[in-house]
């Protein structure tokens, strides 16, 4: 049972860091399920709400990864749970309707596994998908990281020790996301060698956690430990800027497929991003390396709203759009 209480997810590259703005919004009512905001610093003309966020506990069964990279991009699992009991044929018809009518990028070979998963976890007698409200984000202050390079080297040495103590259980000693404690988490713990994050992005995540995931807030650690582990994480994947400007094709593919979540400017602020347990990736705060970006575009990130695109975009197109999303990062 405990397994099914662990929802969670870990900071996978390609998932947004929270902007400070988002954190303030979600932190405004840590215990209330939802809050209507009448922020003092926002103009009187702005009407704003903060939706409650839910994430899903997906029981382990065949088809889980296919399900997790196909369905929850557009709607939460409550849509599936509320349906009357249906046959596999009827569910397949529903999935095919999503593909043909609603433009779901699901691949043909993913359809049967998705149906199989639904038949197991919804129509079966075992554990079922459960939706849980995600607690509001922590609101620990982010330590500013402007320090001398020499200090950072020293910090990183200490940070490796701190990482081993607090982070390696999920992220793995090699920081590739394969720690034993993270095996049952979905999304899987982040491979911290797969992309470069800004100082603020790392510090936000470490200090405040990622709501709805296995990434807890470590804001109560001593400032030296926080600073150190941040310095260490930054060394795990040095920035790897693209060789040249992205192609027009990459931009076009991005505009046609990605902007409603990731935003026209790659900041993760598209209209469909706000209701997500975690907003879509802000590519100004992180630059995935090319291989990882291509892998994520092809296969999605199970347990997040990032779907698999390999059925819709061929390898060349995936490379083009990967180049494009890698072009946003604000180098420091």
């Amino acid at each position: 049972m405990k397994k099914h209480l662990l929802i969670t997810a870990v900071a996978t590259l390609g998932i947004a860091a929270f902007t400070s703005c988002n954190r303030e919004k979600t932190a405004s009512a840590p215990t209330a399920p939802a809050a209507s905001v009448s922020s003092e610093d926002s103009a009187a003309s702005i009407h704003q709400i903060v939706l409650p966020k839910y994430s899903s506990d997906l029981p382990d069964a065949a088809g889980r990864e296919e399900f997790a990279t196909s369905c929850i991009a557009c709607h939460s699992t409550a849509y599936i749970n509320m349906q009357p009991i249906m046959t596999a044929e009827k569910w397949e018809a529903e999935v095919r309707k999503m593909q043909a009518t609603y433009g779901c990028p699901i691949a043909e070979e993913q359809i049967k596994p998705v149906v199989s998963y639904i038949m197991t976890v919804k129509e079966g007698t075992g554990p079922h998908i459960r939706e849980n409200m995600v607690a509001a984000a922590q609101h620990n202050p982010v330590i500013k990281m402007a320090r001398d390079p020499g200090d950072r080297v020293e910090d990183a040495k200490h940070g490796e020790v701190v990482f081993g103590q607090y982070c390696a259980s999920c992220h793995g000693v090699d920081a590739r996301g394969g720690g034993l404690a993270g095996l049952i988490l979905l999304p899987h713990p982040a491979d911290l060698t797969a992309g470069h994050l800004s100082d603020d992005a790392v510090m936000n995540i470490v200090a405040n956690g990622i709501p709805g995931t296995g990434m807890a807030s470590f804001g109560k650690l001593a400032e030296k430990d926080l600073r150190s582990v941040e310095s260490y994480v930054i060394t795990l994947c040095p920035d790897d800027p693209p060789a040249g400007p992205p192609s027009d094709e990459g931009k076009q593919i991005y505009m046609q497929n990605c902007i409603n979540c990731h935003g026209a400017d790659g900041r993760g602020d598209g209209v469909a991003s706000a209701p997500l347990p975690r907003p879509a990736a802000d590519f100004h705060a992180r630059r995935p390396n090319l291989d990882y970006a291509k892998q994520v575009i092809a296969n999605g990130i199970p347990g997040t709203a990032m779907p698999a695109w390999h059925a819709k975009l061929d390898e060349k197109q995936r490379t083009q759009v990967a180049d494009y999303v890698r072009s946003f990062f604000d180098s420091q």
């Binding site: 009407h47 749970n81 349906q83 554990p127 409200m133 807890a216 209701p275």
Partner: protein, 409 residues
């Protein structure tokens, strides 16, 4: 845990001294062990619906969170006007507006017009004659979970409906100001909501030009004298009295006039019913001729007592509820306490207009103990009556005679 309200679900993470992450999930809500059926679980036991509180809303019955679908509990139908915070919520795609700057917001009127318009909410308030109408807003799929055989979709009970006083400007006045060109045949409406994947059809609806010029159709900036809640379509929504809510486009952003048919999935493929007076078909013989859903048929619903309630024998019980139709008003409501053998006239409440809820009450003093099937049926001023059975593949336009089961003890 099945069925408990879930207003305060939280997940608490902490770090213990040995450095392991402990994740305690305080979960209240739907059990992970039985398939969640809104009205009964796999064993047939009645499950109390889950509730949730969303921004600017009170506790409502929770169907889905992303996009939000929230249903009004029946107890609110003891009053003519449904409070804004209890009004049902239904969005089609998950990219819904959560922030609107009214200083920047403009409602566009474009297409086959002489003079395209871009109007702020202030423009709408100051430069056009304000009009108000009390009107029922009902989801096409209200009561879908009662269809038998069951159909897939939003599994609403009876609460995807509400009644409010809508204030705004006539659509025809906006169209006149823009100057509709000769040959215009349709007007389309698009809100601010967008799907996560752009390949998904963006939600849009259309009206024939004649319907768009119906003086009852308004662009509303107020709901019960206040701004609309964000989840009900802030800053303005279309109000098409007498027609199903699918046309009442929320967070309206663009009105476009067309001289040709406006092609959209949401008119051409979705929200269609069999082309016959009741919109019915058989699971074994699906209709091939379908039309866009439009007006609401007459129906009546119980607000109290609740289904399954226990009633005292020999004491007067007030049986109450609502009735409404597509715009002729309610002539009569009748209640049966013997499973439909005999019918008794209910007392009608105040008449707030032909598009409004009409409250009804029936004072019932059951003499004998036992299980009773209470039924209610309404007749409209146009003479329309409710029907005994209806089925269609999408679970739309239900208006069958409803019943509740109570126990007299």
């Amino acid at each position: 845990m099945a069925g408990k309200p879930t207003s305060d679900v939280s997940i608490v993470s902490s770090i213990d001294r040995r450095g392991f992450i402990k994740i305690a999930a305080a979960v209240v809500g739907v059990s992970g062990l039985v398939p969640w059926d809104r009205w009964s679980n796999a064993l047939g036991a009645t499950v109390k619906p889950r509730t949730a509180r969303f921004p600017e809303k009170t506790d409502l019955i929770f169907l889905t969170d992303r996009p939000p679908q929230l249903e009004t509990p029946l107890k609110y139908f003891k009053e003519e006007i449904t409070p804004n915070d209890a009004f049902f919520v239904r969005w089609h795609v998950s990219g819904i507006p959560t922030e609107v700057d009214t200083a920047k917001y403009r409602l566009k009127v474009i297409g086959q017009v002489d003079k395209p318009l871009e109007l702020s909410v202030d423009d709408l308030r100051k430069n056009f004659e304000p009009v108000s109408v009390v009107a029922v807003c009902q989801c096409s799929g209200n009561s879908r979970s009662y269809f038998e055989p069951r159909v897939a979709g939003g599994e609403w009970g009876h609460g995807a409906v509400g009644n409010a006083k809508w204030t705004g400007v006539r659509l025809k006045d906006l169209l006149a100001k823009a100057g509709v060109k000769q040959g215009a045949i349709e007007v389309s409406f698009t809100g601010m909501d967008r799907p996560p994947i752009p390949a998904t059809p963006t939600f849009a609806k259309s009206l024939k030009i004649e319907k768009a010029n119906d003086p009852d159709v308004i662009v509303a900036y107020e709901m019960n004298g206040k701004e609309l809640p964000m989840l009900n379509g802030f800053p303005v929504r279309l109000v098409v009295p007498g027609w199903f809510a699918t046309y009442w486009v929320k967070s309206l952003e663009e009105i476009q006039v067309w001289s040709e048919h406006f092609k959209t999935f949401w008119m051409d493929k979705a929200y269609r019913i069999p082309n016959n007076p009741t919109g019915s078909e058989s699971p074994k013989a699906l209709a091939t001729d379908t039309v866009p859903i439009s007006n609401m048929p007459v129906r009546s619903l119980f607000a109290t007592p609740a289904n399954g309630a226990q009633i005292d024998a020999g004491k007067a019980t007030s049986v109450e509820g609502i009735a409404f139709d597509g715009g002729s008003g309610i002539k009569m409501v009748e209640v049966s306490a013997d499973g439909g053998k005999t019918w008794n006239a209910a007392k009608l409440g105040d008449d707030l207009g032909k598009f409004s809820f009409r409250l009804w009450t029936y004072d019932w003093t059951p003499a004998d103990k036992g299980d009773v099937k209470l039924m209610v049926r309404a007749t409209s001023n146009a003479g329309e009556k409710q029907i005994d059975y209806l089925w269609n593949r999408s679970g739309y336009r239900r208006n069958v005679v409803e019943h509740i089961d109570v126990t007299v003890a």
